[in-house]
Symmetry: C2
């Protein structure tokens, strides 16, 4: 009886751990040897022999690195190191149903932080063409008493355009990933509140105002969300 | 000859694709069935049979989900859905040597955006105790003519504390991940420039000033970095 329990305790952990260890070994190895994107990697078999583990475990670990975009398989050249998609895996796990409440709250605040912080870069890069496009988006969205879903898709279009105007692709993509979580947190309350500064107001500030005025306007626009934090 | 080439062309892609497909299938399945953290999942064998693929492929896909923290193996209960670590995989790929220059630049700007945007949340949450600790860090760092490495570890301690004062763990961890990339970008230039507002100055503003003053001070502190963007 005692023996059976011992075996029960041992089995499930082992498999888990091997892939974890080998994955970390491989990442450390790539780093230590200063492999660069495009460099060829040893084969699965060579790696298994060098690490003294089964090919299955190496395959599992390599599959993880492949998902992260760190490794890819090329015709004839075998495996090479590649440039990872730094937000790819982040995107995979951003599901409000599996994220705990405290992290959802953190992400909510992270989006507010980005929104309040982008004025400086936005003012460096905004163009008249972009402002026209932003204005068109804002005008097509004037209050129509539509529901929550409409409001969220509005937010995505308008704020997404502002991020795009910063010229920063990573920031734009990151924000687009955060918005559904943001929308989810908002949807938890029954009566959504709306700030006194509208999208159109923000466009007008961007046209003629300073970045300090824009920041103050954005704060007012986001006020119902900031009020929630108190 | 033609036949051999065809085989060469076919082999490497296939394996790749199966794990990718099954990984996505599983993620979609978990979402569609509204699985929640703690729910038990079908076994590897059951999944393989349902999907009509080999157990090896399912194992690979599950290993990826395990790395993302979406799945874990529990004693006696088998596989269950778990709460993912949303920044875990992001951390794995943040290596300046494998990230392309344009993404490095994006991350550099992302950190500046966060730094300029955190004043509102910081002013909601800062405490006297935190301010004392921040002051102690700033004082221990007064200019000593130390090198670049010292300067970067200073930045990590001081700015890391500011993020911690926002009470947002995700933001704090995210910023800590971005800083080495930030440091790397700075290290590419020969003579690091320093803003006219020091860490001590920022502490003094945080003690007695408004959040607008803090934001202006932070902008001045970061001015050499913003100048780089022009």
């Amino acid at each position: 009886m005692a023996k059976i329990d011992l075996i029960k305790d041992l089995v499930p952990i082992a498999q888990n751990t091997m892939a974890d260890i080998v994955e970390k070994e491989l990442r450390d190895y790539l780093k230590k040897k200063s492999f660069k994107p495009g460099d060829a990697l040893p084969s699965e078999l060579e790696l298994a022999e060098a690490l003294g583990v089964s090919r299955n475990v190496v395959r599992e670990a390599l599959s993880r690195l492949r998902m992260l975009g760190m490794v890819e398989t090329k015709k004839r050249r075998g495996m090479i190191l590649s440039r990872p998609d730094i937000l790819g895996s982040f995107e995979r796990v951003l599901d409000p149903l599996i994220i705990d409440d405290s992290t959802l709250q953190d992400i909510f605040e992270l989006r507010l932080t980005l929104e309040m912080g982008l004025a400086d870069i936005l003012y460096l890069r905004k163009t008249k063409k972009d402002l026209k496009e932003l204005e068109a988006i804002a005008k097509s969205q004037e209050p129509k008493g539509k529901g929550q879903a409409f409001r969220i898709s509005n937010e995505v279009a308008f704020h997404g355009k502002i991020y795009q105007m910063t010229g920063n692709d990573t920031l734009t993509r990151f924000q687009n990933m955060l918005l559904p979580i943001f929308g989810y947190v908002i949807s938890l309350e029954k009566v959504p509140k709306i700030g006194t500064v509208s999208h159109i107001d923000l466009v007008n500030i961007l046209k003629d105002g300073t970045k300090e005025e824009f920041r103050a306007g954005m704060l007012e626009h986001l006020k119902p969300h900031f009020d929630r934090l108190k």
